[in-house]
Symmetry: C2
DNA sequence: ACTTGTGAACGTGTTCACAGCA
DNA sequence: TGCTGTGAACACGTTCACAAGT
């Protein structure tokens, strides 16, 4: 449960808002001006009741008997997601993945701007990616404040992630997206979202194994 | 809820098993032979009751008053996750991200093997990455069966993801890890795990906005 | 007539607290 | 004594079904 202004929004709802926003932008691009909870829900991969309930936590945006205005709902969700103001990102750990994330072109359209790249490898430091010079992670305490970073994407190897995360938090950053396969121990007021590719594959493997155990043993 | 043999395991529990496995392997590497639910839980970032409850769905592995044997518990979880058998992966969409995923070195250690890379861009097809030649996505129906792929990592642009996913499913693949920012509409027996980097950043932005609305308006 | 917005019912997942056992 | 394993209590999230509104 997350407080937003006077409202209080379930975390599960927040996690779905990006889906709704994407679906709305697709509709807008297709020239659609009005939509219904069922159409929007289908495009977002949720149930229509779920969608209406989610929106109800944020306010009341539709017209009964008609539906939702695509433009204004998109705008409202975008602003609820804090996408009005620019968010300045640093990417720490410019290996395979960090490099790919640096070159990802979808940030700007979504209100994010990559302003700093850091790595610990002397071979990498001084190089450039996505138009930025890669700086040494030792200078983190200098670079983050200087570039006005408000969020960090952490793409370092697992063993160093905890130590670097602590230094990042020391710089006042309170939002971290981590790709390191470790559970970061950080103060409660720091929000960490974690993406674990190997873990996702393992979950798929579990499903495959479960399938084999049920269907694969016919008779 | 997922059936596994005679047991039935909550999906939320399955999603945490990779964390436990990683923590156990870290412990094993550090030479620790026995651990407790509280130590393991702390390293996994969950509560100790949660960990014990999760394990209880799989069976009974500890010794009361003592704890868990690191080796044997790790082994059991690995086998529950289906990591005994090798899983053969194809990566479809060799852009920035697909390339990074192809070069990610953690697969082998976790029982996964990348056996095919596909892309639609003629500039990319024929090139090589991670020791494999990149094949054309048009040949998907030929490549997947030939290479014995059982899981696919989908890293294509959003607009083409749905169509390609359908073709993948047509080849008999039932487990897909998607990085495309769209809700894939696929048969119920297909398991899709979805990773959406931009969406994760938007969720962080929401938290930042919520923080600004509460703390940032003092007085 | 049609679709939203929402209380109430339901189901799933988490936490508690203690019985069971080494 | 100390830690696991687990029923029971609780919290959270989803779905239902309908009242409210245009």
């Amino acid at each position: 449960m997350i407080e937003l202004g006077e409202a209080t929004v379930p975390a599960a709802t927040v996690a779905r808002l990006p889906y709704y926003l994407r679906a709305l932008r697709d509709l807008a691009e297709a020239g659609v001006t009005t939509t219904s909870s069922s159409e929007l829900a289908e495009r977002s991969g949720v149930g229509s009741a779920q969608l209406r309930k989610d929106l109800s936590y944020l306010g009341s945006f539709g017209t009964r008997g008609v539906g939702y205005d695509v433009q204004s709902l998109a705008q409202y969700i975008a602003s609820a997601l804090g996408l009005g103001s620019e968010h300045r990102l640093a990417i720490v750990g410019i290996g395979n993945l960090g490099h790919a994330l640096a070159n990802y072109s979808g940030y700007a359209a979504r209100g994010f701007q990559v302003v700093a790249l850091l790595d610990a490898d002397p071979q990498v430091v001084g190089g450039s990616a996505a138009g930025l010079t890669i700086e040494h992670v030792d200078a983190l305490e200098d670079v983050l404040p200087r570039t006005g970073v408000s969020m960090v994407v952490l793409a370092t190897p697992g063993p160093v992630a905890q130590a670097i995360a602590e230094r990042i938090v020391g710089c006042g950053v309170r939002e971290i997206l981590s790709f390191a396969p470790v559970a970061l121990q950080l103060p409660d007021d720091v929000v960490v979202r974690s993406v674990d590719v190997a873990g996702e594959l393992q979950i798929l493997a579990f499903h495959a194994a479960a399938r084999a155990a049920t269907n694969g043993t016919p008779r």
